[in-house]
């Protein structure tokens, strides 16, 4: 078969868009046609994955050193601003489209089982397809505006899917929170775009990154401002301090959505953006330090919160925030390949964890539904001993747990180790990185601990679901366990993608990404440490992970737990962590309430009611009425007065004429 031209790249995002249109139409006209909806929803994703695979295969054959850009039409020709709708395929985008369509397809399959009873089935698949379309636009865009379309679009889909069950106010509120917090980040992205345009006169990646090393002063104020504003966008989309607060609330959406959007793909867009703009970040040591610092801080901070959460999905949500922090440490250190590697492995094991938790919640929900009990199906205190009832889910989630904890040879070990190694190597030149490395290591310890805690409380120890409910607990149907198995295999062997030279590997991903990261690496050479040091680091990291797991196994007593409704309230530090360091309350007090107060008391009651309505609108009306009243005083209705005026007028005219 002759290779198809790569200019057909548009087919990849177009397929999910077709899925969205078809499913959206079905959602409006025939919402019960579940078979067609599943076929279209999953089919377009599988086809998109196949198309992406073919495109990447062709890219691998050519292996160009510059991105392949395809301009489809002029989008915004406005004076100096020339923006065309263009897609580009390079090694970085190739990694992303494979992850997005591949993991996306698996999660679509899982959704068939998970959402089967839901009345909004067609709407759900329409949104999910739309999300994949926007995500592909984001990663394939060849300039900032096209990327921004995808960036905004995934935010929209995230909002729609978090508030998918919008009948509950808490879900709708969570959606709004995600959207508003993301808008703050988007503001940063926009400002960065304006800066880039004023500086380079172009928004194409190709032009900007080619001109950047010559046009910008390394470490100068301009490039630092650009990177910091870009990173503000990343903190919003990728849930970093200070804008991470929306992601845990995003767990109100269906669990497959949490797996796809809020773990595997959308939230990694920020990491992708930093890797994409690696040239700019390499030119700004301060910008890079901020990225790595915020990443390290977030990794540690979110991990502490995850220690005391009871909602199984919230643990995973904070774990996602924490792991995203790791990725930012990687890309902020200049180890773009390591960051992207962790992005890929994280997509595998975190999608597996979320889908596994979806399988657990599904079983719990069915058990409670069968006995008409209204208990929290997501609270780990109501679980326990589920390994007997869901053996597949338990085994696969253990694999993912070992992977995220960093136990060799699972996928997470290699990627996490590389990030920590890169941070340590950087620290030999910039001592600040010792702090980042230390925080990352501490977060690794906590990660191993809280993940073991999750597994222990969910799958082991006595069952706390209830006597009658217990017999209704059973494993999910094959359509749900199938994707879990595939992700489990990927989690087992995903590390093979980039085995470092240290272990005799060939660092495939690193070499694959070379054409993209090369320019940034020339500006900021990657640092190496001696092999002996590296071995020590690896041993240390594994030791920490084992310590976390063993510590959790020894310290935690699942036998002592009681079901959620009987549980005593937390006290002391546990309460502080359970309440998430009161960050939401803090934001509520210093931002939300003042803004609401300002809106209500000043903008509404004074500016709108008094100034706009009172002064401008009603004031204009009152002024015209006053002028009219003055005029009407002349209209006495008495003929005599009119005649007097008439005579005076005539005399005046005569006088004027005579003169």
């Amino acid at each position: 078969m002759p290779a198809l031209p790569l200019s057909l790249l548009w087919v990849v995002p177009a397929l999910p868009l077709v899925g969205f249109v078809v499913n959206g139409t079905l959602a409006l006209t025939r919402p019960t046609a579940k078979r067609v909806v599943s076929l279209v929803g999953v089919g377009t994703l599988v086809l998109a994955f196949a198309a992406a695979g073919m495109a990447v295969a062709e890219l691998a054959r050519q292996h160009p050193t510059v991105p392949l850009v395809f301009r489809y039409w002029e989008w915004m020709p406005a004076g100096d601003l020339q923006v065309s709708f263009a897609l580009q395929l390079d090694q970085l985008a190739a990694v992303m489209i494979l992850v997005v369509t591949g993991v996306g397809a698996l999660i679509h399959v899982f959704s068939i089982g998970y959402m089967h009873e839901d009345p909004g089935y067609a709407r759900y698949f329409a949104y999910l397809n739309l999300f994949v379309f926007f995500m592909l636009t984001l990663v394939l865009g060849a300039n900032f505006p096209v990327m921004f379309v995808g960036w905004e679009g995934v935010g929209l889909c995230s909002y729609l899917l978090i508030g998918f069950w919008f009948n509950d106010k808490v879900n709708a509120d969570a959606g709004k929170k995600a959207f508003i917090v993301n808008r703050i980040g988007d503001f940063g992205f926009l400002v960065a775009m304006f800066l880039i345009f004023t500086r380079f006169g172009s928004l194409d990646f190709e032009t900007v990154f080619a001109k950047a090393p010559g046009a910008l002063v390394p470490g100068g104020a301009v490039v630092t401002a650009m990177t910091l504003f870009l990173f503000l966008g990343c903190t919003g989309k990728s849930a970093q301090i200070p804008l991470y607060i929306w992601l845990p609330d995003a767990m109100q959406g269906p669990t497959p959505v949490s797996a796809l959007i809020h773990a595997a793909t959308m939230v990694t867009a920020g990491v992708y953006l930093v890797a994409r703009c690696g040239v700019l970040f390499a030119l700004s040591p301060l910008g890079s330090a901020v990225v790595a610092g915020i990443g390290a801080l977030t990794a540690l901070f979110a991990a502490t919160i995850a220690l005391k959460q009871w909602d199984i999905k919230r643990v995973l949500a904070y774990s996602t925030v924490s792991q995203l922090g790791y990725m930012f440490v990687g890309v902020g250190t200049g180890a773009y390949a390591a960051g992207m590697f962790h992005l890929v492995t994280h997509a595998f094991f975190k999608a597996l964890l979320f889908l596994g938790s979806g399988s657990v919640i599904h079983a719990m929900h069915q058990a409670y539904a069968a006995t008409q009990t209204h208990e929290d199906a997501q609270d780990m205190r109501n679980m326990g001993g589920l390994a007997r009832h869901l053996p597949w889910t338990a085994a696969l989630m253990w694999i993912a747990t070992l992977a995220i904890a960093g136990i060799p040879p699972f996928a997470g070990f290699f990627s996490k180790d590389e990030i920590l190694g890169a941070a340590f190597a950087e620290a030999t030149v910039r001592p600040l990185w010792y702090a980042f490395w230390g925080m990352g290591l501490a977060a690794a310890l906590l990660t191993a601990f809280y993940m073991t805690r999750l597994m222990l409380y969910t799958f082991h120890g006595p069952n706390r679901t209830g006597e009658r409910e217990r017999e209704h607990l059973h494993e999910a149907p094959p359509v749900m366990t199938g994707p879990l198995v595939v992700l489990g295999v990927l989690t087992l062997f995903g590390g093979a993608l980039n085995i470092p030279h240290l272990f005799g590997g060939n660092a495939f991903l690193e070499h694959w990404l070379e054409p993209v990261t090369g320019v940034a690496h020339r500006l900021r050479p990657a640092l190496e440490v001696a092999a002996a040091t590296e071995w020590t680091l690896v041993a240390g990291a594994v030791l920490v992970a084992v310590l976390g797991i063993v510590g959790a196994l020894r310290l935690l007593k699942p036998e002592a737990l009681v079901p959620a409704r009987l549980a005593p309230p937390e006290t002391g530090l546990a309460r502080l962590l359970w309440k998430k360091w009161y960050v939401d309350e803090l934001y509520d007090a210093i931002i939300v309430r003042p803004v609401l107060w300002l809106s209500r008391e000043v903008l509404w009651k004074i500016v709108d009611a008094r100034i706009v309505d009172g002064l401008l609108v009603n004031g204009t009306a009152a002024a015209s009425r006053a002028v009219g009243w003055l005029g009407s005083r002349l209209q006495t209705g008495e003929v005599g007065v009119y005649v007097v005026l008439f005579v005076i007028g005539v005399l005046a005219v005569v006088r004027a004429a005579v003169r």
Binding site: R633, L634, Q635, T636, G637, E638, V639, G640, V644, V647
Partner: protein, 98 residues
């Protein structure tokens, strides 16, 4: 020939008419004052026609014709007003007051 006295009489008549219109309240009287003004103007026309040609005299006929028509219409209006309001005092007819 008697031009000066004629114009003087005409001016007096006209002023009387204006004063009547301005000062009286009764619509009939005001109406008569208007006629007085018209006739003062007629006298001026006739007087000046002695020197300026016959056009002035012809104009007088037009003025008289219009005045007759006006009298007809005006009196009819006044009758109509009287039927409705039982008065022709202009001070009490002020429906158009703003």
């Amino acid at each position: 020939m008697l031009l000066g006295p004629s114009l003087a009489v005409s001016a007096v008549l006209f002023t009387l008419g204006v004063a009547g219109v301005l000062l009286r309240r009764n619509a009939i009287v005001i109406f008569m004052c208007v006629e007085l003004m018209l006739n003062a103007v007629n006298l001026t026309f006739v007087a000046l026609a002695q020197q300026l040609g016959v056009a002035g005299q012809i104009f007088v006929f037009f003025v008289m014709a219009v005045a007759a028509a006006e009298a007809g219409v005006g009196l009819a209006i006044m009758l109509a007003i009287y039927r409705h309001r039982h008065t022709v005092n202009l001070q009490s007819i002020n429906l158009l007051k703003g």
